[in-house]
């Protein structure tokens, strides 16, 4: 009797754990289906090519125009700038934490950087809006500080924790014997870092960078508050831009449920989903390579 009970318990627990594991996959799949379902009906009313290639996003004009090219470029433009700022900063911070800093500073720095990840994006956006935006306007003498550059600075901050903590793990997992081998050949500390540690941990660092960028491109609140939200193709970094995420967030409340405009926002969501999926996929491929 007791045996049967144990058997049933084992069976149940196994099933529950299996269910939990599979749920994540089911959710992602369902979200994708939902987006697809809502987005696809948009393409009955509007052509796919005009959507992807159109420069003008005028959902309220007559006839309405739903061209997301400027939004996609806005998102990528901000993301690339944020990458240029956060990648060198993040990787060097990781290198400092993993290789150079004395133990006490290492512990403090690591927890502070990780704490940075805990700040809600709306708070970062708010702080950026009242401190960074006026500063950028004065510093570069431009009509408005609400620009892609200000947005990128703030986003770089938000990508840092991801980049730093995952890169640091990758750097720390380089076998000690590699370092010792290089040092025994008479390499200086910097030569060891540059020639041995960085190349050996590169796949992990690439993975960290990709995950950081995934966070940046998906970020909504901070960019909506800081980048100025003008849906046009920027000609300089000090131009305001509007990102895909900000468009969805800003307009979702104003649309009539079931209208073409409403569905167009889901279509943007679909594009965004595909972009982040690709980024995560690349990141995952790199991370897998490190583990081997």
């Amino acid at each position: 009797m007791k045996k049967i009970f144990t058997f049933i318990k084992d069976f149940l627990i196994e099933r529950i754990i299996f269910l939990c594991g599979i749920l994540a996959i089911i959710f992602v799949f369902l979200i994708f289906l939902f987006l697809l379902n809502q987005g696809i009906s948009f393409f009955g009313a509007y052509s796919l090519w005009d959507f992807l290639g159109g420069k003008f996003w005028y959902p309220a004009s007559d006839p309405p125009q739903f061209g997301i090219l400027s939004l996609v470029i806005g998102s990528l433009f901000v993301t690339i700038q944020a990458a240029l700022i956060s990648i060198p900063l993040g990787v060097m911070t990781a290198l400092f934490i993993a290789e150079i800093a004395p133990p006490v500073i290492k512990d403090i720095l690591k927890s502070v950087v990780e704490l940075l990840a805990a700040i809600p994006s709306v708070v970062i956006g708010f702080i950026g809006m009242i401190t960074l935006v006026p500063l950028v306007r004065k510093l570069f003498n431009i009509p408005t500080g609400l620009s892609s550059f200000s947005g990128a600075l703030m986003l770089a901050f938000m990508a840092m924790p991801t980049i730093v903590s995952i890169s640091e793990d990758a750097i720390r997992s380089v076998p000690w014997s590699y370092k010792e081998g290089a040092i025994a050949l008479g390499a200086t500390r910097w030569q060891t870092m540059y020639r041995i540690i960085l190349p050996a941990s590169l796949p992990g660092i690439m993975g960290a960078v990709m995950l950081g960028m995934g966070r940046v491109i998906g970020e909504t609140m901070a960019v909506m508050m800081i980048t100025g939200n003008a849906a046009h193709i920027p000609s300089s970094v000090f131009d305001p831009v509007r990102t895909m995420t900000a468009t969805i967030a800003a307009e979702m409340g104003e649309t009539v449920k079931g209208s073409t405009h409403y569905h167009s926002l889901f279509a943007i969501g679909l594009v965004l989903f595909i972009i982040t999926f690709i980024i995560n996929f690349i990141a995952d491929t790199f991370m897998r390579k490190t583990r081997r």
Binding site: I183, A184, G186, T188
Partner: protein, 249 residues
């Protein structure tokens, strides 16, 4: 015989544990000095004192002096010291790059840039390490694809490429099969003419096969140092005899 390295009253600690106790020892030029002794006898620590690799460990402290060619090694620039005193580790550490790059790695950071010169160094080092014939057609392949024995000889070649004067071997054959071991030993004997070699080994027979002189370490102390012949035929200390005949350790 010229004294290459002179160790005077060396004492070493890790935290509060003394691992080497008032050690006096000279290493002669162009000899293979074998160091034997049971685990925790301070062999490897001593070896790593010679190229100051112990300095990487924050808990390490030492007193006493080590003279290389009559000059205190603490006054030699760290990178220069480690170039002049090369080291081959127990586990072959091929760096994750091609065979060619593994060997040029050290040479490059000591400022050699000329491609022709580098190729020359690669061939010369590989020949000296008795590996050239096995890899000459595939220098661009990843070094991690080589067998354990080949990787160990690659590490020897890499050490030779920076033109050292002394080579420290830290149990170089502990992870190798008998045939690879024989090749590495042969390589060491061939290198004796040009280099001074210090070999730490757990294998008493290996020490007997390759060493000119043998030092026996026990609990951080040097018990006895003598020619290989004398140590095996008429050891002057009882503890040495017990160890080499396998009664302990």
């Amino acid at each position: 015989m010229v004294v290459k390295i002179q160790v005077n009253n060396l004492n070493c600690w890790f935290k509060n544990t003394q691992v080497i106790k008032s050690l006096f020892l000279s290493i002669l030029e162009h000899e293979i000095l074998g160091i034997i002794g049971p685990a925790n006898s301070g062999k490897t620590t001593f070896l790593r004192c010679l190229n100051r690799l112990n300095d990487l460990n924050p808990h390490f402290k030492s007193k006493g002096e080590i003279l290389k060619d009559g000059r205190n090694i603490n006054t030699i620039k760290l990178e220069t010291l480690r170039q002049e005193i090369g080291m081959v580790f127990a586990m072959p550490i091929s760096l994750p790059m091609s065979i060619y790059d593994n060997i040029t790695y050290g040479a490059k950071q000591h400022g050699i840039k000329n491609k022709k010169e580098l190729s020359g160094i690669v061939e010369e080092s590989l020949v000296k390490a008795s590996l050239w014939d096995e890899v000459k057609g595939r220098l661009d392949q990843p070094a991690l694809q080589l067998s354990g024995g080949q990787q160990q000889r690659l590490c020897i070649a890499r050490t030779l490429a920076v033109q050292p004067e002394v080579i420290l071997f830290d149990e170089p054959c502990s992870g190798l099969d008998p045939i690879s071991t024989a090749k590495v030993e042969e390589t060491m004997i061939n290198l004796k003419d040009k280099y001074t070699i210090v070999l730490v080994t757990n294998n008493v027979k290996q020490a007997a096969r390759v060493s000119s002189r043998i030092a026996f370490f026990l609990m951080g102390e040097l018990v006895e140092i003598d020619t290989a012949n004398d140590i095996f035929v008429k050891p002057s200390d009882r503890r040495t005899e017990d160890y080499i005949t396998g009664r302990f350790g």
